[in-house]
Amino acid sequence: MSHKVTIPIGPYHSLQEEPEFYQLTVDGETVTDIDVRIGYVHRGIEKVAESKSFDKIIFLVERICGICSTSHPMASVLAMEDVSGVEVPDRAQYIRTIVCELERIHSHLLWIGLAGHFLGYNTVWMWAWKYREIVCDIFEAITGNRQNYGMMKIGGVRRDIEDEYLPGIMKGMDDVLRALDMFKGAVLDDPVLAARLKGVGILSKADALSYSALGPTSRASGVDKDVRRDDPYAAYDRVKWNVITQKDGDVFAKAVVRILESYESVSIVKQCLQKMQKGPIDSDPKELPEGEGIGHAEAPRGEVFHYVKSDGTNSPERYKVRAPTFMNFPTFKATVIGETISDATIILAAIDPCYCCTERMTVVNRKDKKTILTGEDMIKMSQDKTRRMYKRMTGKELA
């Protein structure tokens, strides 16, 4: 006999940091379907961007997401530099790389902590967040803020890293390395965690490719892609590092990828600090010509993509952002269904979802009071649009 029950989780659920609304359909213990409703943190950033000047947009996109708060500005300045073709000084490239990699370390440690929390393993949470403070301190020293660093600028960076800080950063990185060693031992060799995470929520390579998963979510499934290597920006082509991949695609593999990636990040930061030469940090461009530009950067969760269209004035005509969670979200359909309800939370957490990045759409002011669109609605809208364009271009109705 089958008993289908729908379990609502959210929108303001204590386990979640951000408001989102899951509906899990379960049959006994097994999840048979999942539906996600988001939109509780939609802030209309793309539209707000159109009313801000280019300088301010960098601050605005920084506030898309607090955890990737340097990946978004990074992609944003890359897009704007793509429009203007301005050269970025060497030292600025290294500083950008350092800030991006420090962010990756803090984000991965944060994830390890939250994953432990979701598993009911609060010791891991407290540890991970304790060692994350080292990175936050470095940020506070070199950028002035623990989060939302405000370092990026078109044509360079806003602040230089003073020489006095270098030994402190080096020592901080060594401390992080020791913490990572401990995590590698404590988390990866722990029999309980292995039993809990191995073989759970498997995303096969084929699924990862067909869903276009990004970042650690795809790399844990054996898809070898990383913007930092495939289309190097900042100083990633001047330092030695490896792209970490795993084959299994389960939650454990995702944890392994994140821990090993943090090691690479530490090594990148150290190399940058050593290679950095004295010099200017900013080429200080004064205006942005007309044109379109794209920029993409590898955030801790995957590729962020920014598009900007400038009409020669000081604010953009169109600004578009695509965050990695947008692509990683649908993989839930492949990973959660068929698993038990107790594993669902950790599988949902395994892609390190970031809703505040993803929430890009909401419908306001519709006559039928419907504020959420379903997949069918969207397909219909898309088909309607094709029809309209066809008619405009050819003067005929589409068959």
Binding site: P19, R43, W129, E133, T362
Partner: protein, 140 residues
């Protein structure tokens, strides 16, 4: 001082309500719980249900979708309940003011007792804000 108030001041339980923040303020709130800041030494505890809460820590601009829900959450909290607006977003709508998705500011949706500015406010600032609030309540 009522017995309820006395109990509240002794160990205020906080509930964290995020409605359209960029996540940083939320992380800093969680950070307050971790070993370095450890607000549990003041008797504060992050609780899972709003029905157990004495203090609501609100972060983020309230967007149109969340507005009625934020109100509902506040109504569910047992009174007396003090509301703290953490971060510029909750205090003044920050950079999003004027956006089509953002409705009324938080203090027009629910009554706010304390504002903690900052983007994000440091954990020290959050702790200071809450402690100051408690002192004020103690004085009456």
């Amino acid at each position: 001082m009522s017995i309820k108030m006395k109990a509240l001041l002794k160990s205020p339980w906080v509930f964290h309500l995020c409605s359209g923040s960029c996540n940083n303020c939320d992380i800093e709130i969680l950070d307050c719980l971790t070993p370095r800041y450890d607000i549990e030494r003041f008797g504060m505890l992050l609780v899972g249900s709003v029905r157990h809460a004495d203090v609501l820590l609100c972060t983020g601009v309230v967007n149109k979708l969340g507005e009625s829900r934020v109100k509902r959450v506040y109504q569910q909290a047992p009174k007396p309940c003090v509301v703290v607006a953490v971060g510029n977003c909750a205090a003044s709508q920050h950079i999003y003011r004027g956006s089509y998705a953002v409705g009324k500011p938080l203090d027009e949706v629910i009554p706010v007792d304390v504002y903690i500015p900052g983007c994000p406010p440091k954990p020290e600032a959050i702790i200071l804000g809450v402690v100051k609030l408690l002192e004020k309540l103690k004085k009456g």
